[in-house]
Symmetry: C2
Subunit: 103 residues, 2 copies
């Protein structure tokens, strides 16, 4: 863990309702907006039966600020009203990391 | 964070090569084997352009033991030789969590 600087991950796991109207547009809008926030590092998403989105942030404060962003709050509300059956959010501290690249 | 007991997440992010022979069988085998390990809590996976698998564990020691499991080591080696272009593993401490369920 030499010189490893901890950062934070938000693991958002979800299952969706059958109502998909407006979802893709909103997901794209929120991704664009998240990338403009202070402390945003990166984001990965994949979806089959379950959707997993992991976003990475420099600090807990940055995550808190993004959660309270006015446009994001509206998206969260619409998500609960229309798009999600269930979701779970986990705030994590990334403590260690390693990588493989094919030569 | 009342009574919240921290646990650990392993975020495995990957992109695959065009060689898929044996991959699905091995993924299934490793999922079955992981679920039998000490300290295993749960696991979520989704894959599109990128694959994301997040497994949850009671302790760092449990994660270390699973990483060193003989059958798992063989799977990791085959993964690097055949199935993955790239992967990244992040070991994280889950510090906070909340959930939504549609009524």
């Amino acid at each position: 863990m030499n010189n490893f600087k901890p950062y934070y991950a938000v693991i958002f796991t979800s299952t969706q309702t059958e109502t998909t109207t407006g979802y893709t547009e909103m997901a794209h809008k929120m991704e664009t907006l998240a990338k403009k926030q202070n402390g945003f590092i990166s984001m990965d998403s994949a979806k089959n039966q379950i959707g997993i989105t992991v976003s990475y942030w420099k600090s807990l404060e940055d995550i808190k600020t993004w959660k309270a962003n006015a446009e994001h709050l509206l998206a969260q509300q619409k998500g609960r009203e229309q798009w999600y059956n269930w979701y779970n959010v986990k705030i994590c501290k990334v403590e260690r990391e390693y990588q493989f690249n094919l030569d």
